[in-house]
């Protein structure tokens, strides 16, 4: 589970940085990585589990920030749409 958490954290980071409007998938992958890492650390504390949690948290945070930055562009479109309707 610790190794899986680390791998998911790395994948989530890649998706967060390069995913564009699909970087919300990085949030979901990162969350799974956090859960797996925390479960691994709770059952068998190890450095790999801690690293997996940290990597997944960083990836999830970046994905969230970048996703909402993309969303900001869409929000302007939404506002214009609302004024047309």
């Amino acid at each position: 589970m610790a190794v899986a958490s680390m791998i998911l954290g790395i994948v989530a980071l890649v998706v967060a940085v390069f995913g564009g409007v699909f970087n919300w998938i990085g949030i979901l992958i990162g969350i799974i990585g956090i859960v797996l890492g925390a479960l691994a650390k709770k059952n068998t504390p190890s450095g790999m589990a801690t690293a997996g949690i940290v990597m997944s948290i960083i990836a999830t945070s970046l994905a969230l920030v970048f996703w909402l930055a993309c969303a900001a562009c869409v929000a302007g479109t939404e506002s214009a749409l609302a004024s047309l309707l």
């Binding site: 699909f22 709770k42 949690i53 993309c70 869409v74 929000a75 939404e78 214009a80």
Partner: protein, 269 residues
């Protein structure tokens, strides 16, 4: 106001940065108190991750539901354009989704829900207050038109608001109210009222949100029978919280006055 910063050529939305900061602050304080209760911090990561994940999904779905017409959503899906996903979040959708997600997280983490709720609930309004600064920066969730003291002028906003028109500072006002709610919940926790923290928070926030909605100017959020979607949700959450507190008070009094016979009506400790 100040919706973006540029870092190494990458546009970073202040809304997302402050939302993440709010989550980190609430999470850090929750872990600190939860460890004082002798519980493992890993539970906070598990419950927090699942709760926040479902909160974001539900908050976004509610935002899409109240903002876009169904025909627009269908046309975007047919065109393969999913950019409307993640266009915004409604706090209530996030709160309800977060509570559902947290209860799922309790099962995954196999932790005591009562202790977790006691640790986490007072810091939810604190995180929310930080997130509202993000709304102020982005120019979303803006107030009604207003030219009095402390009026906000959105010279750089993501939304269709006039830069020459002043708006009521509803976001910082809601942030300040949330900080007061946080302080009240911390006092209640210190007085040993941990069991009623969640329903008390639902009652306090729903009343404040119902009243603040009258000061909001972003009417495209959805108005139904003269009342906004958030006001309808506020009414439902207040009723839920009030009934919860009343039931707990009545049942606890019944436990104390019962001297003989089965204690089946009493809440488990």
């Amino acid at each position: 106001m100040f919706p973006y910063i540029e870092i190494f050529g990458r546009t970073i939305g202040m809304y997302g940065v402050l939302m993440a900061l709010g989550i980190f602050l609430a999470g850090f304080l929750t872990i600190r108190y939860y460890k004082k209760l002798g519980q493992p911090s890993e539970d906070v990561f598990i419950v927090g991750a699942i709760g926040i994940g479902i909160a974001i999904i539900c908050g976004n779905l509610l935002y899409i539901g109240v903002t876009y017409p169904f025909s627009y959503i269908l046309s975007q899906i047919k065109a393969g354009d999913f950019s409307f996903l993640g266009s915004g979040i409604v706090f209530y959708g996030g709160l309800i989704g977060g509570v559902v997600g947290a209860f799922l997280g309790f099962r995954v983490a196999r932790c005591q829900a009562k202790l977790f709720i006691e640790a986490a609930v007072p810091y939810i309004p604190l995180g929310h207050a930080v997130g509202r600064i993000g709304c102020l920066m982005a120019g979303c969730c803006y107030g009604m038109e207003y030219d009095g003291p402390l009026a906000v002028y959105y010279t750089r906003s993501l939304l269709d608001v006039s830069p020459d028109q002043g708006y009521f500072p509803v976001q910082p006002l809601e942030g300040a109210i949330n900080i007061v709610i946080c302080c009240v919940l911390l006092i209640l926790r210190k007085r040993g009222r941990g069991e009623t923290l969640l329903p008390m928070y639902l009652c306090m926030y729903s009343v404040s949100r119902f009243l603040l909605e009258f000061l909001r100017g972003d009417q495209h959020r959805g108005i139904y029978f003269g009342v906004s979607m958030s006001q309808w949700i506020s009414l439902a959450l207040f009723a839920t919280g009030a009934v919860w507190v009343l039931l707990k008070t009545v049942l606890n009094r019944k436990c104390k006055t019962e001297e003989n016979g089965p204690m089946s009506s009493c809440l488990p400790k």
